[in-house]
């Protein structure tokens, strides 16, 4: 049997009349990289916020490592081993890079059982792992966007998570930075054994790195499978291009 780390069952999240996430179900296998894609407003970030406990879903269950975490406060979910990076980077600007990562270490998986010294060591290791070692004592506000995104990852990793949610970790980066970040994400997955769900708009990147892909559209799951399967799914192409006939032509051309 496949080892499932996260299981979503019919998750629904509404904002007033708007259904942002509509009866979405899928499972994440331990150790995989899962891509979560969909056009703008498909509900990807909302779904991340439901998983991390920022939003309480109106319906459905979120099961993490066999435990029902639906509606748990966000800080307890973090402690159970889920970490997230933000789409719009949210570094603690008035803290150094190292201190930012220390917050992750202090309140992550070993929250309450880790001293300041040990937290500093974990933080330093992670800061070096993402390649910010030389900037450990710089204020977070002095970093470039790319470095801030790396800091988000270092901070999340310092929590020693089992599941890492990356919300558009590549957006706004130039091609070289994207390559570097992809390498880093792979290393996180392979060397640290962290399961990853990544929301991504940079399509070729996610197709490249993810083993499986889930596609959301208007809050509903419309497709799931390997990158090839998803790329050839007419419904997915329709969702992205908005026109069924155009989509069909697109599929035919690719098939040819």
């Amino acid at each position: 049997m496949v080892n499932v780390i996260l299981d979503l069952k019919n998750v629904t999240k509404r904002f007033g009349g708007l259904v942002a996430v509509d009866e979405v179900s899928f499972s994440v296998r331990r150790g995989e990289i899962l891509g979560l894609i969909g056009p703008n407003g498909a509900g990807k970030t909302t779904l991340f916020n439901v998983i991390t406990g920022v939003y309480k879903p109106e319906g459905g269950r979120v099961i993490f490592k066999g435990v029902d975490i639906t509606g748990m406060p966000a800080h307890r979910i973090a402690k159970m081993g889920i970490a997230k990076t933000h789409q719009i980077v949210k570094p603690f600007n008035d803290m150094t890079v190292l201190e930012n990562a220390m917050i992750g270490a202090l309140f992550g998986k070993r929250s309450g059982k880790i001293g300041m010294g040990e937290a500093r060591e974990v933080a330093r290791r992670m800061v070096e792992f993402v390649g910010l070692g030389e900037k450990a004592n710089h204020l977070a506000s002095q970093l470039t966007l790319h470095e801030k995104k790396l800091l988000e990852i270092a901070r999340a990793l310092s929590a020693e998570p089992e599941l890492l949610l990356l919300d558009e970790a590549l957006a706004g980066l130039n091609p070289r930075e994207i390559e570097e970040s992809l390498g880093l994400i792979k290393r996180v997955n392979e060397e640290m054994g962290v399961t990853i769900i990544m929301v991504e708009h940079v399509m070729h990147a996610v197709m490249n790195i993810a083993e499986r892909i889930v596609v959301l559209h208007y809050g509903r799951k419309i497709s799931e499978g390997s990158p090839e399967e998803v790329a050839n799914d007419p419904e997915v192409i329709t969702a992205y291009l908005g026109d069924p006939s155009l989509a069909l032509r697109f599929v035919r051309r690719r098939g040819a």
């Binding site: 991390t52 406990g53 920022v54 406060p73 966000a74 800080h75 307890r76 973090a78 402690k79 970490a83 997230k84 933000h86 949210k90 603690f92 600007n93 008035d94 803290m95 150094t96 201190e99 220390m102 917050i103 992750g104 202090l106 309140f107 992550g108 929250s111 880790i114 300041m116 010294g117 937290a119 004592n137 204020l139 901070r155 999340a156 929590a159």
Partner: protein
Amino acid sequence: MSRAPGYLKSPTLLLIVVVVAYILGERLAGLMTLDALMLFMYFLGIAAALNIIMGFAGYVSFGHAVFLGIGAYTYILLVYFVPTMNSLQKMGAGLGVFAVAVVAGLAAAAVAATIGAVVLRLRGAFFAIATIGLDFAALYIVKGVVPTLNPEQFYGAQVILPSWAIVPKEDVFNAMLLTFLLVILTNYAVRRSGFGMGLLAIKEDEDAAEVLGVPTAKYKTIAFTLSAFFTGMLGAIFALNGGGVDEGIFHLGHSINMIVMIVIGGLGTVSGPIVGGIIYYWLYDLLLIHYPGLNLVILGIIVGLVVLFAPEGIIGILRKLTFQGVRLRELLE
């Protein structure tokens, strides 16, 4: 920064030692009156007390006068109405005063824990406005209720300690010194703890902190309660030294004093309220002597200039400087 010999390298600790040495020196030399020295400690103390919630967690409370008031009224009413409390406060050369002040502080802390659990859900200006509301609610309630407790003896909401409840000034001084040390060292301990790191994360970005695992609601309530506890103790000893209390203790101006000291010194550090408190006390004194009547006008202008040109406060500016290759930020916490 390596951690082991940190005591010697930490200017914050050095600052604390210097300030305490100064107080003790003045006490021995007897150049400053006991009252002036107590006012000095009271100023620095309330700034440090508010610092726990405002400096570290970033919640600007205009309602701390409420806790000063609760502490003051609890202390005064306790020794007024409860004979054991009155005998307790006269014991141990100030230790008794300290003990009763702890009870007063606990009363303030209890109210803070109850109110804090709900009010701390509000953020930024809404929190500030709510605490202004609490201050006025408390002011008007005390104005209404206290006179009815003992209409023959109390003048309005004013309670004056009768001669049998007066404590020697030396005892009050000792209790104040003890409380002052306690609040400053608590600041230092909080700043160096994981709890303090969590509070700083809340100040920077509360949502991000929560997702990273910081139990934000719990931490804010603890910080608010701790802050109220020390504020209540200081209010109690302040009132005892003044020989009584009236509703003026709830005046917004008291909260404002605390906020101004932290703004001048700088948020988020242990040295901020100490430096801000010293400058404020000094300015207060200086301006009062040279420009009586206009002293607070000038103070207002100074605060405005700080907000416009040095929003991080004095310690904030110092932290940005580099000294012989070492960034001062790493030294000043």
